[in-house]
């Protein structure tokens, strides 16, 4: 080994900055010393790439465009329906939130599963072999995008209300109980994470989308027909557990929060745990 390294000077061995990338012998390295190891891949960089990956493909970009378009459409419809007296702010907001709850999870699914369908997992897990770290960055990226969508929606609903009230000559009223904001944020984040979890569990985009939409419907049918389940539906069926969080009149009770938490275990935590286990073990090829 030493003979092959004989062209390497000690100094050249240390030089690895970009100023002298073609220094002869500069790459000659049999082993990495602790000094050469360098820092690990910072999580911020991983997060930055994962955020970018969600918007730099046609599929990702179209999804965001569809989310914006559907939001505009829902609010436009509400403004038209309320053209006489002006559309309420809460009505505008909740009109947009409902279709978003269908589309945001797809964002989560794409983030977690599309790399396996497109085979870029081969590249991603070569760049960061600590796979759960990649999944943490993906989950956080999806959550951040979900939060941005919610924030933009709140602002748009406010603007739409002001415009609608102005056109109809009605009063501007931007008041909304705090629990509704909390409910909207929590529900959308649960949906985004549920999307990530289903994506990771099935590792296939069409399959995950189908599973995401079919499974809750099946459970809903079961909870309506099977007595044992329907008695406990609010603890099992998340669509039922979530209903109080969109209500304007009363804040959710402690029991309703507990029901949301318990259903989230079945629908988010369990699929996520299975998904992470699969991602960590699966052969990437």
């Amino acid at each position: 080994m030493t003979t092959q390294l004989s062209t390497t000077t000690g100094a050249a061995d240390q030089v690895r900055d970009t100023t002298t990338p073609t220094d002869p012998g500069g790459r000659a390295r049999a082993y990495l010393d602790d000094a050469d190891l360098g820092q690990g891949l910072p999580f911020a960089r991983l997060l930055r790439t994962e955020l970018r990956k969600t918007v730099d493909t046609r599929a990702g970009r179209w999804l965001l465009i569809v989310i914006v378009a559907v939001t505009a459409l829902a609010m436009g419809l509400m403004m038209w329906l309320g053209r006489e007296d002006g559309a309420d702010y809460p009505t505008l907001l909740l009109a947009a939130v409902t279709p978003q709850a269908v589309l945001l999870p797809v964002l989560g699914i794409l983030t977690a599963a599309s790399e396996w369908s497109q085979r870029t997992a081969l590249v991603t897990f070569t760049q960061e072999p600590r796979r759960l770290r990649v999944m943490a960055a993906k989950s956080l990226a999806a959550v951040l995008l979900g939060l941005v969508v919610v924030a933009v929606t709140i602002v748009l609903a406010g603007l739409a209300h002001v415009a609608s009230a102005g056109l109809a000559g009605g009063d501007v009223d931007l008041s909304l109980p705090g629990h509704v904001y909390g409910g909207v944020v929590v529900l959308q984040l649960i949906y985004v994470l549920m999307g990530v979890a289903f994506g990771a569990m099935l590792l296939n985009v069409p399959l995950a989308i189908a599973g995401f939409f079919v499974l809750p419907v099946l459970v809903n049918i079961v909870s309506m027909t099977v007595g044992w389940v329907s008695e406990r539906a609010a603890w099992i069926d998340q669509t039922i557990a979530q209903t109080p969080f969109m209500a304007l009149d009363a804040a959710p009770t402690g029991e309703q929060w507990a029901q949301l938490g318990v259903t989230s275990i079945w629908w988010v935590v369990v699929p996520m745990a299975i998904g992470l286990w699969r991602v960590a073990r699966r052969e990437v090829k």
Binding site: R58, V123, T126
Partner: protein, 297 residues
């Protein structure tokens, strides 16, 4: 440096990689050569921690791949040029790789320059790239972290003769700078001119390895004796560069008469002696033919 020791991978009852051991050294290009299905890609995936090994170890720069901090700053990997999102532009693919290694925008431009993609081509989606362009892009992504080790699976696939020449020059100068290069191929002609060392694999097993000169010597013989250790020592002393063969005996660079004289002088009992004929080419063809027979049967 890449050190592979007793690496094996079994899929159920099928052994894809069977106890392989070899080292790819700094400053040298190591060709990993074998017919389709020999286990090259599986072995390379195991080196990079993508496929769990059934047994054995793979160390890169003295460590398992998974324990390298920010591995792409040390190891440039291209396992499959086709594994890119069809909807991303070439520039974006390099941009993502650049963020992870902490390289700047300028680095992306200089890599584009180096792999010979024009800026107009770089703005196109990878889905519209030819296989050769994808190979160049994959190589660019591997190079962007300025690594000291390169692991490339069939990088010459789909390249035109000009592209193959370009890649050869690039890998050659990379090794001259001291880098370790491991590249696989199923075509002898692709690696013959660029590799310093060769590892031949067939049906998961290494059937021959050594420097290219050792393996290419067409005037070689295959020889075996009752006392293999003594034979090896004698061949070595005589300067016949013996290479151990997987099924016993040695390949040596000498004529049959020279071996006969050596055996007489050293008092060795020769049990097998034949001229190996076409050297590497013949060995490679035999390997491929073996597989073909297996399929036909």
């Amino acid at each position: 440096m890449i050190q592979i020791e007793n690496l094996a991978k079994r899929y159920g009852a099928f052994t894809a990689v069977d106890d392989i051991t070899f080292t790819a050294r700094p400053g040298r290009v190591t060709g990993f050569l074998g017919p389709n299905g020999a286990g090259k890609s599986t072995a390379m995936r195991m080196m990079c921690g993508l496929t769990p090994a059934t047994s054995g170890t793979a160390h890169i720069l003295g460590r398992p791949y998974r324990s390298l901090p920010n591995p792409t700053t040390h190891v440039g990997v291209m396992l499959d040029a086709g594994a890119q999102h069809a909807g991303r532009t070439g520039r974006e693919v390099l941009g993502l790789a650049a963020i992870l290694v902490g390289a700047g925008r300028g680095q992306v431009d200089s890599v584009l320059d180096r792999i010979g993609l024009t800026s107009r081509e770089a703005e196109r989606r990878v889905g519209n790239y030819s296989l050769g362009m994808r190979q160049r892009l994959g190589l660019g992504a591997a190079l962007i972290g300025d690594p000291s080790v390169l692991i490339l699976d069939e990088p010459a696939n789909g390249l035109d003769p000009g592209g193959i020449h370009w890649m050869r020059e690039l890998l050659r100068s990379y090794a001259q700078e001291g880098g370790t290069v491991l590249l696989s191929s199923h075509l002898l002609s692709e690696v013959e001119q660029v590799a310093d060392d060769l590892v031949l694999i067939g049906r998961g097993r290494i059937v021959a390895q050594g420097t290219k000169e050792e393996l290419l010597s067409s005037a070689g013989v295959v020889v075996d004796a009752t006392d293999r250790e003594a034979l090896h020592a004698a061949l070595h002393r005589a300067g016949f560069s013996p290479v151990a063969r997987p099924r016993g005996g040695f390949a040596a660079q000498a004529g049959t008469a020279q071996i006969g004289e050596l055996a007489l002088a050293e008092g060795l009992v020769i049990t097998n002696l034949s001229s190996s004929g076409g050297g590497l080419e013949e060995m490679f063809l035999t390997l491929t033919a073996d597989d073909a027979r297996e399929v036909a049967a």
